[in-house]
Amino acid sequence: MSITSPSIDKVKLLERCLGNSALVEKLRIAFLSSLPSERHLLQDAIEICDLSSVARIAHKLRGTASNMCAIPLSEAAHQVERVARNNEIDLIAERWWDLNQQIEKSIDALSVRDSNPL
């Protein structure tokens, strides 16, 4: 994993996997493949103002990102989840823009396989 940005804390992730770099690689591929579809699901829900689905999808993304030690992404997902739960429609677009940025950064960070993860 080429993680030059702070999007994902690779040291912590390896610790969470008890030093199992094969598992880290497996998770990298899985997370990378899931992010575009999660983004589409969120975008669709936001476009039709389905705030309950927005909150649910953001909540799940927040948890997965947290497990992957992608803290900025988790935080951004939490913000979207929070405004959706509070029905703060006027803030959704702004928070979604932030989250989208973090998804992009995370995809970039996850896209290049690092020959020596640590």
Partner: protein, 381 residues
């Protein structure tokens, strides 16, 4: 995400460890948790939601379930409720995974039967400690089951006793709980005492394993000589449990079990056996079980007598206040009569449902104790 297809269905741990099921719709969470548990020596099964968990529990039978709350199909709270409502011979320890902001779900989960919770994302050390807590509780359950099994084994030689042991421990618990509210017993009976008497009262007749069949199983009245032989069950039980208590002085339940087995046939006025102890020379635990045992004997049908009504049995207890029984215990009995009647009724219903279930080979669907409406009409007894 297609990660789950790569996860083995059942992952055997390095050692033959405790079975743990992880339930989460996030495959990454499942992977990280299962890796940690496998490395810690547990045997792990995975499920993506509550429905799948319940299906897999039919053959995997986990001792611990770690479940996310927010899941499709059946969520974590509903899963807790379903696990608690299913008939099971062993306790399943439930840990809910929650986020800090999800306190409402956490409360619902605990109310539905969860034992503990873990904040997401989990920390290794915290999870390790939570699991150790679960293991401790399950090992206590193992001890309790062994004690009750031992009592059941001893009772199995006796004929037609039905749910005698179950009733004795419930009656003893009710009486002890009542005494706990009395100022006089403030420093004697506490929650631990109640727990111990519930645990140990079924061993009151464990010494009957040493009584010959021709005496123990005799349908008619015993001769004086035979009765002397029968009386020895108190000494046999007391000696057996006393030896264990001496070897393990830290195990307070053994001391109480010995007291009960040895002295539950003593009488308040000193006319009982085996030592003719009087009044408070008789341990409180044995005085409690004496009332519970006689009430149960009176209200149960035996080959040599019909079942007395609750009223008739209570009348006998009241007449024996201060002679056979501790006056305080008889007064306590009068305060909890309704509960005693209800327990008798509920266990009777359960026993018949069990018998029916065995006969017809159908799953048992009997509510837990305490779920029957009160009061029960007096003519039901």
């Amino acid at each position: 995400m297609t990660l789950t297809t790569e996860i083995p269905s059942v992952t055997e741990a390095k050692s033959n460890g405790l079975k743990v099921m992880i339930v989460d719709d996030d495959p990454i969470a499942l992977e990280i948790l299962s890796n940690f548990l496998r490395e810690s020596g547990y045997t792990v099964e995975l499920a993506m939601n509550g429905k799948e968990a319940l299906e897999k529990m039919r053959y995997f039978s986990p001792r611990i379930v770690i479940s996310d709350v927010d899941m499709p199909e059946i969520n974590g709270v509903e899963l807790c409720r379903a696990i608690r409502n299913r008939p099971s011979i062993q306790y399943t320890y439930l840990i809910l995974l929650t986020s800090h902001s999800d306190t409402k779900s956490l409360i619902l989960g605990l109310d539905a039967g969860a034992d503990d919770y873990l904040s997401k994302p989990f920390r290794h050390e915290e999870l390790r400690l939570r699991l150790e807590g679960g293991r401790r509780l399950l090992s206590l359950e193992g001890r309790d089951m062994m004690i009750f099994s031992l009592a059941k084994l001893a009772e199995s030689r006796d004929s037609d006793t039905g749910t005698h042991l179950e009733r004795i421990r419930e009656y003893s618990k009710i009486l002890a709980t009542e005494l706990m509210t009395w100022p006089k017993f403030e420093n004697v009976v506490d929650a631990q005492f109640v727990e111990l008497i519930y645990l140990t009262s079924p061993l009151h007749d464990v010494g009957k394993v040493g009584i010959p069949d021709n005496v123990l199983l005799k349908p008619g009245k015993l001769t004086p000589e035979e009765f002397e032989v029968m009386k020895r069950h108190t000494l046999i039980g007391g000696e057996t449990l006393g030896a264990s208590a001496q070897a393990h002085p830290e195990a307070s339940f053994l001391k109480m079990a010995m007291d009960i087995a040895l002295k539950h046939h003593e009488r308040w006025d000193g006319t009982g056996y085996p030592f003719q102890l009087k009044g408070e020379e008789i341990p409180l635990s044995a005085r409690i079980v004496a009332v519970a045992d006689v009430y149960d004997a009176l209200t149960t049908k035996r080959v040599y007598k019909p079942a007395f009504t609750h009223e008739a049995a209570a009348e006998i207890l009241y007449k024996s206040r201060g002679s056979h029984f501790d006056p305080d215990l008889v007064d306590a009995f009068s305060n909890v009569e309704t509960q005693m009647r209800r327990i008798r009724f509920e266990l009777d219903v359960q026993m018949h449902a069990n018998e029916e279930s065995i006969k017809t080979n159908t799953p048992l669907s009997v509510p837990e104790l305490g779920t029957y409406p009160a009061p029960v009409p007096s003519n039901a007894f």
